[in-house]
């Protein structure tokens, strides 16, 4: 009888240990985050420009297609329809990184054109919009020739908005 009790106690102890091990829950949803979307910008190796890179921004436009007039009004008029990620330049210094993760805080809405824009000259006042060019955009998973549309709603941050940038082969320019 003594042996039985010893064995039973030992086995019950093992069972409890195993149950406890499985009770830590495992995977869980990510904690609450700011509204917007996030992802990674990937840069094609060896394509970084040596002399024409003043700045880089991630942008999100609620308007597509774009033209020069819409860019100006979208950026500076009210209501704003084109949003710039505020700190990509700082995040990327020094340049020549292979990739950079980002999280773009935005209010809810539909974003029809998301990409990375390069400023090629410091003379913003003189050259105007000509100092900018789009060097990569988030593509529609079903049709990579078109920009992907991202819905930001009021409960989740949209993840996986990855953008491939190839400075030598920029996509068609919207302006």
């Amino acid at each position: 009888m003594c042996n039985i009790l010893v064995v039973m106690r030992f086995l019950v102890f093992i069972i409890l240990c195993l149950l406890l091990a499985a009770c830590d829950g495992g995977l869980a949803p990510s904690p609450p985050v700011e509204l917007g979307f996030s992802g990674t910008v990937y840069f094609a190796p060896g394509t970084w420009p040596s002399d024409s890179l003043v700045n880089l921004w991630i942008f999100a436009s609620q308007v597509y297609p774009l033209d020069s007039a819409k860019v100006y009004s979208g950026l500076f008029a009210s209501p704003t329809t084109i949003f710039l990620y505020p700190s990509i330049t700082e995040s990327l210094k020094p340049f020549y990184a292979d990739s950079i993760p980002y999280s773009f805080p935005l209010h809810s809405g539909t974003y029809k054109y998301i990409g990375v824009i390069q400023q090629t000259d410091a003379d913003l006042a003189g050259l105007g919009i000509r100092v900018f060019r789009v060097v990569g955009f988030y593509k529609d998973p079903l049709n990579p020739l078109l920009p992907g549309v991202v819905e930001v709603n009021d409960s989740l941050q949209v993840k996986g908005i990855n953008i491939n940038v190839d400075f030598r082969n920029p996509p068609p320019q919207p302006f």
Binding site: I4, L11, K139, N162
Partner: protein, 737 residues
């Protein structure tokens, strides 16, 4: 337990339809000496011959066509002391009734396996690590598909639908299994993608599953890099028998409201029904199955219909033929990976409306003839058809039809009591028609030879070799793919019995895998981003070399210990490499790997098997020697534990499995798919529990079971971006008439 009605029917059948000249028969019932319960699955062997039988669920066995003479007959079953009845006299045209009672014994002896040497032999004579899963374990754990039945096999872990034996496979994106699977000894790998289709196996008709660890191409050819899994189907019962199993499960709600996508409960239900009978020399079994899994994930629904039949005809006491057909219709929603860890029960938007319809099945024919008590041979043929079509909202609409036919002839010659030769030839013809793989024919041939020597009673030596040759053409009547056509694979084994309770083993073996047609010729847009898979018809076969030493010993009649040290070297492993600049996926021979490890198992039983436990631990050190890093998709630690209690008609079981967090995954796959939160993974720590009550004492040939899978509702992902099943409650009923 001696049923007079059974004897009367048996006498009638034997006298009317089954009498044969100059031969006799032996029949009877095997039961537990203490409980008098009938024992199923007892191996009944006519010593010194190749004849044998297995008891059915009512404990009945029958040996027929025995030449008149004096024989020793042994009765063995796991957990019972083997009993040998000596000098049994068989008279012509008579049936001898021999009922036997076995005594429960702590020592596990004489378990018979067939896969390690292509012939029946005692497990203690096998020079490699072998694990078995019995039909009872499948029923007790309510395993609906074959992969589910393998989740507690020591050294084995599943990565979604890909099986790893001691880290052999990893995750190869659904193509090219590095473990060979057999059904009744014949390869059962799909002809197009070279993968294992787990759902096609007739779960209700499985007698046992044998898992042989380490390279096994010296006997079985391509795909046996990491091991061989042999699914052995049940024999046809000697008397009419109806069997059925019904189950219904309900998935629990996830703990997080974000994950709860369905307003209604999700069920997983199914049923199996079979009938078998024997009329003289003709036996038959027909079975139908229906399972519907509504799934805990959106657009992950399974609907399956299955039909299975087996026919047997005994031409004489020494010749018989078996015909098996097995077909499965399936409709399955597309679910490749989750939307994100915030919504892991929903697929990515692009997969939301897709589904795959498939018809898969096989027809196999096996003829066996015993020419003498020293020599017998078998001829086998199998056709495996695999047809599927996917429909993903019009985005991708791919089809594939793969026809794989394999032939095999094998002879086993016992030259003396100390020497057994096994030899044979095999051939295969493969034809694939697919809009993504192309249309490619392939042929192959092989021969194999194995010699088993017993120079001393305590020492057994095994040596064997197999030559394989295969060609796959790019197109019919065109040049072949550049893959190397010839492969030689050796095996050497040693088994030494120090005493009746202590054995040591050592083995060395080679393995290889021809690249599948899908790896050679796939040319398709993935439908995801702008990534394309491009063909590479210059792939070489993957190769492996395995070495193992191990041993086993009983301690104090209650404890059985088994251990093994192993090392496998892999060459030219095929990986799907991603070129991010070209947005192309290309299969190529890139990886040289080495996997070393240890495996230890300890089984105990207490109080006349009132309580038994089973623990196993496997440590794996998976190294990618190509870049001196951890090999991807391999867990480092596997720990499985099982506790079983039996009291009268009540049986309870708790199982736990721990699979450590995979250290390295394919980052490119996560990035380019993209799989949001695809890098999120944890260790697997799952508890399954079940309780079964047998109503036989109440006069009902039924057992009722309650099973809870993932009792603690632990959330984990076996494969990146795939939440494993939530806690599920099952109620089941099984019976036979």
């Amino acid at each position: 337990m001696k049923n007079p009605l059974f004897h009367i029917i048996l006498i009638f059948l034997l006298n009317v339809t089954y009498a044969r000249p100059n031969t006799g028969s032996i029949t009877g019932i095997v039961s537990d000496v203490k409980t008098q319960e009938p024992l199923a699955g007892v191996n009944v062997i006519l010593r010194g011959t190749v004849r044998g039988a297995t008891t059915d669920v009512q404990g009945k066995y029958m040996l027929t066509g025995i030449p008149a003479g004096i024989f020793d007959i042994s009765f063995s079953l796991i957990g019972y002391t083997t009993q040998t009845i000596q000098k049994v006299s068989v008279q012509p045209d008579t049936t001898l009734y021999l009922d036997v009672s076995l005594t429960q014994a702590p020592i596990r002896t004489e378990q018979v396996v067939i896969t390690a040497s292509r012939r029946e032999q005692s497990l203690r004579d096998v020079p490699v690590s072998v694990s078995t899963v019995t039909s009872k374990m499948i029923a007790d754990r309510l395993s609906v598909t074959l992969d589910d039945a393998l989740r507690y096999v020591p050294g084995v872990n599943m990565m979604s639908d890909q099986v790893n034996i001691r880290g052999s496979t990893g995750y190869s994106r659904g193509v090219g299994s590095r473990v060979l699977i057999l059904i009744d000894g014949l390869p059962f790998i799909t002809g197009d993608t070279g993968e294992i289709n787990w759902e096609t196996f007739p779960m209700f008709q499985i007698d046992r599953i044998e898992v042989v660890k380490g390279a096994g191409s010296a006997l079985y050819g391509s795909s046996a890099l990491g091991g061989v899994i042999n699914v052995i189907t049940k024999e046809i019962s000697e008397l009419p028998e109806i069997r059925f199993r019904l189950f219904s499960g309900i998935y629990d709600k996830p703990s997080y409201s974000k994950w709860d996508w369905s307003s209604s409960p999700r069920f997983n239900t199914g049923g199996y029904l079979s009938y078998s009978n024997r009329i003289g020399p003709f036996g038959y079994l027909v079975s139908v199955s229906r399972t519907v899994d509504e799934s805990y994930r959106e657009n992950d629904v399974y609907h399956r219909w299955g039909f299975y039949s087996k026919f047997n005809y005994d031409f004489s006491q020494s010749r018989n033929i078996n015909l098996m057909t097995n077909i499965q219709w399936r409709s399955h929603g597309n679910y490749f990976w989750w939307k994100s860890l915030d919504e892991p029960t929903r697929p990515a938007d692009s997969q939301l409306n897709g589904n795959v319809n498939s018809v898969r099945g096989n027809v196999s024919l096996a003829y066996k003839e015993i020419l003498s008590d020293q020599f017998f041979y078998s001829l086998k043929a199998i056709y495996f058809g695999n047809f599927w079509q996917d429909d993903s909202s019009g985005r991708v609409n791919n089809t594939s039809a793969a026809h794989l036919t394999q032939l095999e002839a094998q002879g086993t010659y016992t030259t003396s009591s100390a020497n057994i030769l096994t030899f044979g030839i095999a051939a295969n013809y493969d034809r694939v028609y697919s809009d993504i793989f192309g249309s490619h024919p392939g042929i192959g041939a092989a021969f194999f030879l194995q010699d088993e020597l017993t120079p001393f009673q305590s020492l057994k030596l095994t040596a064997g070799i197999r030559y394989d040759w295969q060609i796959i053409w790019k197109k019919i009547f065109s040049s072949p793919a550049a893959t190397s056509p010839s492969q030689f694979n050796p095996k050497i084994g040693l088994m030494f019995s120090l005493d009746p309770i202590t054995t040591f083993r050592a083995s060395y073996g080679g393995g290889f895998r021809y690249p599948s047609i899908s790896e050679l010729f796939t040319s398709v847009s993935t439908g995801v981003s702008e990534i394309r898979i491009v063909p590479n018809d210059s792939l070489k076969p993957e190769r492996s070399v395995s070495f193992e030493i191990g041993g086993s010993r009983w301690f104090s009649d209650h404890v059985f210990l088994d251990f093994a040290l192993f090392q496998s070297d892999y060459y030219d492993l095929i990986e799907a490499g991603v070129n991010p600049n070209k947005f192309e996926i290309l299969f190529s021979n890139v990886t040289r790997a080495r996997i070393r490890g240890i495996e230890a198992g300890i089984k105990t039983n207490w109080f006349s098997q009132l309580i038994s436990t089973d623990f196993s631990y496997t440590y794996i050190d998976p190294v990618d020697l190509s870049n001196n890093s951890v090999l991807r998709f391999r867990p480092r630690h596997l720990f499985y534990a099982s506790l079983t209690g039996n009291y009268r008609q009540l049986r309870a079981e708790v199982n736990f499995r721990y699979v450590s967090r995979v250290e390295a995954i394919d980052e490119n796959l996560v990035r380019l798919a993209p799989i949001v939160d695809g890098d999120q993974r944890v260790a697997c720590k799952v508890v399954d529990a079940g309780i079964t009550y047998n109503l036989i004492n109440a006069g009902l040939p039924l057992s009722i079971g309650l099973t809870v899978k993932n009792l603690a509702n632990y959330y984990y992902a076996e494969l990146i971006g795939n939440l494993a099943p939530l806690r599920t409650y099952y109620l089941s009923v099984e019976g036979s008439l």
